[in-house]
Amino acid sequence: MRVNFTVNGRRQEADDVWEGESLLYVLRERLGLPGSKNACEQGECGSCTVRLDGVPVCSCLVAAGQVEGREVVTVEGLADFAKQRAEHSGHGGACATGACGGTSLQDARSWTAKGTDSQTGEGTELSPIQQAFIDAGAVQCGFCTPGLLVAADELLEHNASPTDADIREALSGNLCRCTGYEKILDAVRLAAARQGEAV
């Protein structure tokens, strides 16, 4: 079957989609967006977290056919998403019409946190949460990072100054096997503090 939906602000079309296929598979294998990670395929690890109509979900548990006509934001579009949200005074970065630009599939595919020089992140536009993860050393092997970024970004969207309990709760569906979570918590606190300063 064919599935039409919006990915990172742009209309996309996926063809030859199998009826039992997950949104995660469509994103990775059909649209060439491997940012959302495939690990547990049962909603346990959160590595595949994306926004579906603004709501964080495990894309491995959304059937492809269910996203017809709906809006998805993946980690590849997170920087643009956050930028638009900032420009539109903090409320929902998503743009239904596509008039806000969004991220083209080409740009999303080639999106990288690697900078033009030796400093990771330097010279590239990152969302505040992405920058905070780098600055706080919250990335180790990096596999869980995309899911954590999407989940943490959504937390800071609706809760500008989360308590530690709020952060733990918001990230409770995302597993990291490297960091012991402390640096990740630091990163979210850092992003929240910077967000507070900016206002």
Partner: protein
């Protein structure tokens, strides 16, 4: 496999009548796992996401009519006053991502003995509204679970909503697991005090082939509370009554040994949860002013 995408409820019922083997998918948090792991290849998937009324709820005089697909997140955020037990149970479901998608209709459809909503529904008192092209019927929650992952639905029926009695007293919910998030219950216990009828109702999860009420424990407690004048006096429940209630709750279990825990442990833990949750709700009933948050 065919993917059926009805635009409305009537269309969904017609599709289910035409294809009784069609598996409904709403949040997908159960069925997609089975498909991803190749455990199940349904002939038809019946997507219910476009049926907006399934994600809505109405608060009535006596009960809340909760649409089958209302996500757990919404229940936690919006129905804490009317359905405190279910709101607490909802908060123990998996993770934010899962709670954003999953709902009570799916829990009932899957009818796993470990489903988190069941003990709260049993304790509060509920009826499941199911519908087919033949008509609508209300199934009392006590008659809904018919076996391990089996329920009273006919092949052409879909779950439209659950009618849950609004709380008329304190409710609590307790769940045993190895961590706070992302766990399937080792066992769970729900309790609801109903001061209006001076009764107590319970629900046990993951400790029998189906979710069950601890009926002998309820009967004992109802009699003991009436006899001792506890509802009027609001005095502390005697330890011997609480102990007997716990033992009878434990006795209502018919658990198995599995990877999550042993039958012996489950019986023991259900007794402990019964005693504790009775204590918490009774404290709330006595109006001690202490804030009592349900422990997950």
């Amino acid at each position: 496999m065919d993917f059926l995408r009805p635009a409305g409820w009537e269309e969904a019922l017609a599709a289910k009548a035409e294809h009784p083997t069609a598996v409904p998918i709403a949040g997908g948090t159960d069925i997609m796992v089975e498909i991803n792991f190749d455990h199940r290849r349904p002939e038809y998937l019946l997507d219910l996401n476009r049926i907006t009324e399934l994600s809505e709820w109405e608060v009535g005089e006596e009960s809340v009519r909760l649409g089958a697909s209302v996500p757990y997140t919404r229940i936690m955020e919006n129905l804490r006053t009317e359905l405190p037990g279910l709101a607490l149970a909802s908060h123990t479901v998996a993770s934010p991502q899962i709670r954003n998608r999953g709902g009570v209709g799916g829990n009932l459809g899957t009818a796993s003995p470990a489903g988190d909503a069941h003990p709260a529904l049993l304790a509060a008192g509920a009826e499941v509204e199911v519908e087919s092209v033949r008509g609508t019927r209300l199934i009392p929650i006590d008659e809904f679970y018919t076996g391990v992952k089996r329920n009273a639905l006919a092949p052409d029926e879909l779950i439209r909503a659950v009618h849950i009695r609004k709380a008329d007293g304190p409710q609590q919910y307790s769940k045993v697991g190895t961590r706070n998030a992302m766990v399937i219950a080792v066992c769970a216990f729900g309790i609801a005090l109903h001061p209006e009828t001076r009764t107590v109702r319970t629900g046990i999860g993951s400790a029998a082939p189906t979710p069950v009420r601890a009926e002998a424990a309820e009967e004992f407690l109802n009699a003991a509370l009436a006899e001792g004048g506890f509802w009027d006096s609001g005095k502390i429940i005697t330890p011997s009554i609480a102990k007997q209630f716990a033992e009878l709750a434990s006795g209502a279990c018919n658990p198995i040994d599995d990877v999550r825990g042993t039958a012996r442990y489950r019986r023991h833990a259900v007794g402990i949860m019964a005693r504790r949750t009775l204590g918490w709700t009774w404290e709330q009933y006595r109006g001690s002013g202490r804030t009592l948050e349900g422990a997950a």
